[in-house]
């Protein structure tokens, strides 16, 4: 699971609603994959990024050189875009957990795929 995906995820445990975002990320195995840099794609993703969630996750993974926020004129700033490319797409969590910040429910993450299936009693309505 890459951090761009983590940035989209929200716990859906019953009663939790928007407080289920973002799930707390802990990793026991992380892999760095080189991915072809595509500035046009990164530029389009920047507006969708939830920064607080990204910084929290990056912090939990002890990543360095993570931009704190979109800088002015980021569309043309290759250094910024490359850093974002690295953080969002090249860091892959292979083993770990995601925890619902409201209910405490822990979801496992294995072989790069998070399992966020809920048991019946946990589902909304």
């Amino acid at each position: 699971m890459r951090l761009l995906t983590h940035n989209l995820l929200s716990s859906h445990v019953r009663g939790v609603g928007p407080r289920g975002f973002p799930p707390r990320l802990q990793a026991t195995e992380v892999r760095i994959n080189p991915v072809e840099f595509n500035p046009g794609f990164i530029v389009r993703m920047i507006p969708k990024v939830e920064w607080a969630a990204l910084l929290e996750a990056a912090g939990n993974l002890h990543l360095i050189e993570v931009p704190k926020e979109p800088i002015q004129g980021y569309e043309h700033n290759e250094e910024f875009l490359r850093k974002m490319h690295h953080v969002l797409l090249e860091v892959e969590v292979l083993e770990g957990t995601l925890q619902c910040p409201e209910s405490g429910r822990v979801f496992p993450l294995s072989r790069g795929i998070p399992n966020m299936q809920l048991r019946d009693e946990e589902t909304e309505t």
Binding site: L8, S10, N33, N38, F41, M45, G112, Q117, T123
Partner: protein, 501 residues
């Protein structure tokens, strides 16, 4: 659709007439493709076939995503009058297909050879660039080597696509290693034995025949194949070879046309080299993605992705997009992961293990949803499909697009569920939808008049009329497609802003 920068190219190959077979219902997609990708002209279609003229080489032709197989056209003409005519008379008519007009046949074969040689030249060029020290290979030899590769592929034709691909890859590998003189000589000898393509009279061939409609009551495919085969041997001196021919001739006699062609590729276009294990039909998966208005920078979700066929087809065509696939089944996700890796698309597609009725995504966070709703009893109709659609509706942003593949039952259920409570619109019923006109357009663009086209158009309008709105999801387009034994409906919705939900 992604078009090569600079627009569709008129390629270096000579102008030629082609036709493609297509699953019923996919014809409008294929028509659009040949026009946009190949700048095709004289586009015409009947149920299950699209005819066109283009100047494309093999690489360009391989790009067609909604076709089953591609053929060079030898001949197309009105069907034989069969009703009150003797078998002998029909046999005479069949023989005349060859004897009255041998030029059409020779012309088609020469185009076929040119296409192969053009492709072989390009391969040689890329090998040369890769290793300039490699021994220089003669042009005829390269074409012959390619033919040999194709012949070996032919043997596997009846087996699974996957097996074919493995062998093809292996042969190409072996082909690349032929630099030493000894090995090369060996291969060259093999080729000389199998077929000498420079001399046409040594061409080996096989006839594949299909009969449908009125003529099928009078003649069998085998009889037709035999008559044509003998006539070809007499006219051109070719030898028949059922197991391992150079050339395959395809004949389809129906109530609408008699069509003769040469398959351009051994492996059907519908069988993708980049997909290790296909889940649903790749042609339909691509067609669905082509309706979803995928733009660069979008977030595209398939919440019931299975082996990931839809995501693979979409990611190949629209690469600058973020794809997420979800499924509840560990084995399916495992298969999907293998597929992504084999296709080199691991970086573009993410997988989640999650249920579609409880998506761990914030509301309005996804731009596009494309999904094949499972058929069969495992997926409980009624309750499950409603919850599924509600959840999809929730995570989709306003203005977003949903494209679903629905069975007849699902469709019926969605329509019938109007009485039930819940956020889904129960007053809906039939909507006068401007989008209804849209789905007429592809058929309308089909150029040359065809007896089949009017019923084709009516079918789409009818299926669009039967799509009720679902909450804030407004039906936009609908295509009935064949899955072989059953039909399904590709249904497109857009999310409008939903007051009071």
């Amino acid at each position: 659709m992604a078009v090569v920068p600079g627009g569709p190219r008129s390629g270096p190959a000579a102008r030629a007439q082609f036709f493609c077979t297509a699953g019923r219902g996919l014809e409008p997609f294929l028509i659009r493709e040949v026009r946009e990708r190949l700048a095709a002209t004289q586009v015409e279609y009947i149920s299950g076939k699209v005819f066109f003229t283009a100047c494309s080489d093999l690489n360009m032709l391989k790009q067609l995503k909604s076709a089953e197989r591609l053929f060079l056209l030898i001949k197309k003409q009105l069907p034989f009058p069969v009703s009150s005519v003797s078998k002998g008379k029909i046999f005479n008519e069949l023989q005349r297909l060859i004897n009255d007009d041998p030029e059409s046949w020779l012309n088609a074969i020469s185009i076929w050879k040119n296409l192969l040689e053009l492709d072989a030249k390009k391969e040689k060029l890329s090998h040369k660039n890769a290793n300039p020290l490699k021994r220089k290979v003669g042009e005829d030899d390269t074409a012959a080597k390619k033919l040999k590769t194709e012949q070996i592929q032919e043997i596997q034709e009846t087996k699974e696509c996957q097996l074919e691909k493995q062998i093809e890859e292996k042969l190409l590998e072996q082909g690349n290693f032929i630099t030493e003189e000894g090995k090369f000589q060996e291969l060259q000898n093999d080729v000389m034995e199998a077929a000498d393509t420079r001399n046409q009279t040594d061409l080996t061939f096989r006839v594949s025949c299909r009969c449908s409609g009125a003529i099928a009551k009078t003649l069998t495919a085998q009889e037709v194949g035999r008559v044509i085969g003998i006539a070809l041997m007499k006219q051109f001196g070719w030898k028949a070879n059922l197991r391992n021919p150079n050339l395959e001739i395809f004949i389809h006699l129906s109530d609408i046309y008699s069509v003769l062609g040469i398959p351009v590729f051994r492996v059907p276009l519908a069988c993708r080299a980049y997909i290790k294990t296909a889940g649903m039909r790749s042609t339909i998966a691509w067609a669905m993605a082509s309706l979803a208005e995928i733009k660069a920078g979008a977030v595209v979700l398939d919440p019931m992705c299975g082996l990931g066929t839809i995501l693979l087809e979409a990611a190949k065509e629209w690469p600058d997009v973020y794809y997420v696939g979800a499924d509840v089944s560990d084995s399916q996700l495992s298969g999907a992961y293998d597929n992504l890796r084999a296709a080199g698309l691991k970086d573009k597609i993410e997988l989640l293990r999650v249920s579609v009725i409880e998506l761990p995504l914030p509301s309005e966070s996804v731009d596009i949803i494309i999904s094949d709703i499972p058929f069969g009893k495992k997926f409980k109709l009624g309750k499950d499909i409603k919850r599924t659609l509600q959840e999809m509706e929730r995570v989709l942003r306003v203005g977003g697009t949903i494209v679903l593949l629905l069975s007849e039952d699902h469709h019926r259920h969605l329509k019938g569920g109007e009485a039930s409570s819940g956020p889904l619109n129960s007053q809906g019923g039939r909507t006068e939808e401007p989008g209804g006109e849209e789905c007429l357009t592809p058929a309308g663009k089909a150029a040359v008049s065809e007896p089949a086209s009017s019923s084709f158009v009516a079918g789409n309008q009818e299926c669009l009329d039967r799509m009720p709105p679902l909450g804030s999801l407004v039906p936009v387009d609908c295509y009935r497609v064949s899955l072989g034994k059953t039909d399904a409906l590709i249904s497109k919705y857009k999310k409008s802003s939903s007051p009071g939900r």
